[in-house]
Amino acid sequence: MKKDGVKLFVDGKRLDGRELDELRPIKMEVGVLKRADGSAYLEWGENKIIAACYGPREVHPRHMEEADKAIVRVRYNMAPFSVPDRKRPGPDRRSHEISKVTKEALESVVLTHLYPKTVVDVFIEVLQANAGTRCAGITAAALAMADAGIPMRDLISSCAAGKIEGKVAVDMMGAEDNFGDADLPLAISPQKKEVTLLQMDGNFTRKEFEEAFNMAMKGCLDVYEIQKQALLKKYEV
């Protein structure tokens, strides 16, 4: 995946002018859809993502329901026009994997025992993509769940760190993701600071990993603050 000869730093700054530990601009808004029980719209750098939550509701097909708790289902989907090369509609292998790890990242904070035999359905639509859509999607999904009033013991906040030209950096954008050396997306429950999503690919020494891990953790906590503001804003009016 790596290519040589692509410069990722200009005058000591990243291509978009950021410092190594600086997040891209992030905007969040909850309650953007009428039909969904909860929803959120999120812009994170050049990513534009909408998430919806339905539930707790009856499970179809019925055989998936669990007698003693709610199940959580997640569908991560990219619009065909969300990437430079048109994506064929429908989930590919990457989408299936992201849906799976996103579900696993979100379900630990849901008080599933309160609503046995039901499902909490979470839908994430990527309308414009530019690296980091899984972290952005998880972040938006957690907001949509909170907006839907799903009882949760904590929020989930997500952010990645990586390595570009040998330097550990937070929240990589497109070119950094394409030509970088490593990527470490993380999601945490921000109050307990527990890790609910962790994936990694590329190349880290043990020391670099720890540095990137801490940077991603810090990023998650920054994201958490923005999430809280978005939720507060809803109740301000």
């Binding site: 009428k34 039909r35 050049e46 534009k48 619009a79 969300s82 090369d85 839908f123 414009q128």
Partner: protein
Amino acid sequence: MLGVIADIKKDYIKKLLEEGKRLDGRGLDDYRPIEIKKDLYATAEGSALVSLGSTQVAVGVKMILGEPYSDMPNRGVLTTSAELGPLASPTFESGPPRPPAIELARVVDRGIRESGSIDTEKLCIVEGEQVWIVFLDIHVLDYDGNLFDASTLACISALLDAKMPKVEDGKAIYGERSGSLPIVDTPISTTYAKLGSAIAVDPHLEEEQVLDARLTITTTKKGEICAMQKGEGGAFTAEEVLNTIDRGIEKAKELRKLL
């Protein structure tokens, strides 16, 4: 909704409509508030997000180079798809497009195609070998009724917004743009719901759930008819069809001003 409650609701909406009134206070010829946002998604060649009341439809235009059809060697190709994903409604399901999504895409596509909206000859790079394939992807975000009109508005807006990629050595350069798409007509679709003896434009969700039949009329700039589609299990009299067309032709002129 099942049984008795659905029947009561249907009777109530029908009585209202027959008195010329609607649940949300509109008249029979009023659209809900319409908002059109363009140039939203930078990864698309063109894009638009249309709100029709609470209904929200996002459309992206993608263009790729490909081969023309052998019977139209000097024309670009238009391909329209619609996704009614589970995000937009509790009744939509994941999976390949079902008949309602296919019908939506095909009716919108016919309006654009048959109006001659896109001058497809200008999308030919090398006759018989290379032309632009234009993908129109309709992505429904919030379904509160009348997807036909919202989608046609969003598609034509996205087409008007689209910038063509440059072509160098037979390859598309997506980073650079060589002008707008050749859009020569702006078809507008108007959809009417019939319930009992009343016929109302722009049905919202609660009306769609109880209507007897639906009629969509798409008209060109000149006021000619380029596509129609009757839907659902009910029926129209001949007189109703002709009256509704007259109403649709007039209403389209108003809507076209929003583009």
